[in-house]
Symmetry: C2
Subunit: 159 residues, 2 copies
């Protein structure tokens, strides 16, 4: 993983610190088989996610996490390392959420964030919108999730 | 909520049963404040989601769920009522996930699914791709989530 990071910590990070073109990488996280089953029982009770025996004979040859669980793990790394603790206002949404391969128990997960665009609000100059292309990998380089996140962030200096 | 539903149950529902233009509504689900905090501690530990005292004085005037928790509740209703139990293969992804307003503790949630397009695979005629516009509402009509889901489903009759 790259060692590049913001010049400022999460507790002093504002809209102005998110620069288009910057690429950062953060890790690690992982899930157990029990966690995969527990999450899926609550939110996505399909047999490939809740029934290890069925999953062993299913199309993926073993238990795989709900895509929403995969997204949750991405969010955790994103919140722990990338998203400001003091300036994050809200996210209006996510574009092009993709699960190109499944997340399995015990895999070592890490994320890459690429800032693709930033725009200060004209109507509310105390904030701006940051577009981030996010990727999560299992192991060295197997992509398990990609998305484009939209985040409103407070500016350090208004106007 | 509309009473319209598929002519066939979840256990006998295949690609051919998903018809473009069909609109169905299903409910209900809800979350408690404790569930919101528990989910967010694990996946999205921002103060608006994990700290009720902070949240009470924050921009939303109270605790709100992580958008990923909102998505999880949508998925639960989608899996319990809409997605075939026998023909669902996998989802390649989600487009235009939006959170137009926050999900709060105790709200009565329901979903509307609108089938926007269906296409049988040319290379693998035992399956097809269904595009579903999904919406989740709190109370009578406050939209808390919208998305377009992509789902691969097995066909009842191959070729």
């Amino acid at each position: 993983m790259s060692e590049a990071d913001f010049a400022v910590p999460l507790t002093d990070r504002y809209f102005e610190d998110y620069l288009a073109g910057a690429v950062y990488e953060y890790g690690y996280a992982s899930v157990t088989a029990d966690e995969i089953v527990e999450f899926a029982r609550r939110f996505d009770p399909q047999p490939m996610h809740v029934d290890p025996d069925w999953a062993a004979t299913g199309p993926f040859g073993g238990l795989i996490a709900s895509g929403w669980h995969t997204a949750g793990l991405f969010m955790r790394l994103y919140a722990d390392h990338y998203l400001s603790r003091v300036a994050s206002l809200a996210s209006p949404g996510i574009d092009e959420l993709r699960w190109p391969s499944p997340m399995r128990p015990g895999e070592k997960l890490w994320i890459r964030t690429t800032i693709t665009a930033t725009r200060r609000s004209r109507s509310k100059p105390d904030r701006g919108l940051v577009h981030t292309h996010g990727e999560m990998f299992a192991g060295d380089d197997r992509l398990v999730l990609s998305l484009t996140a939209l985040n409103f962030l407070k500016t350090r200096h208004a106007g």
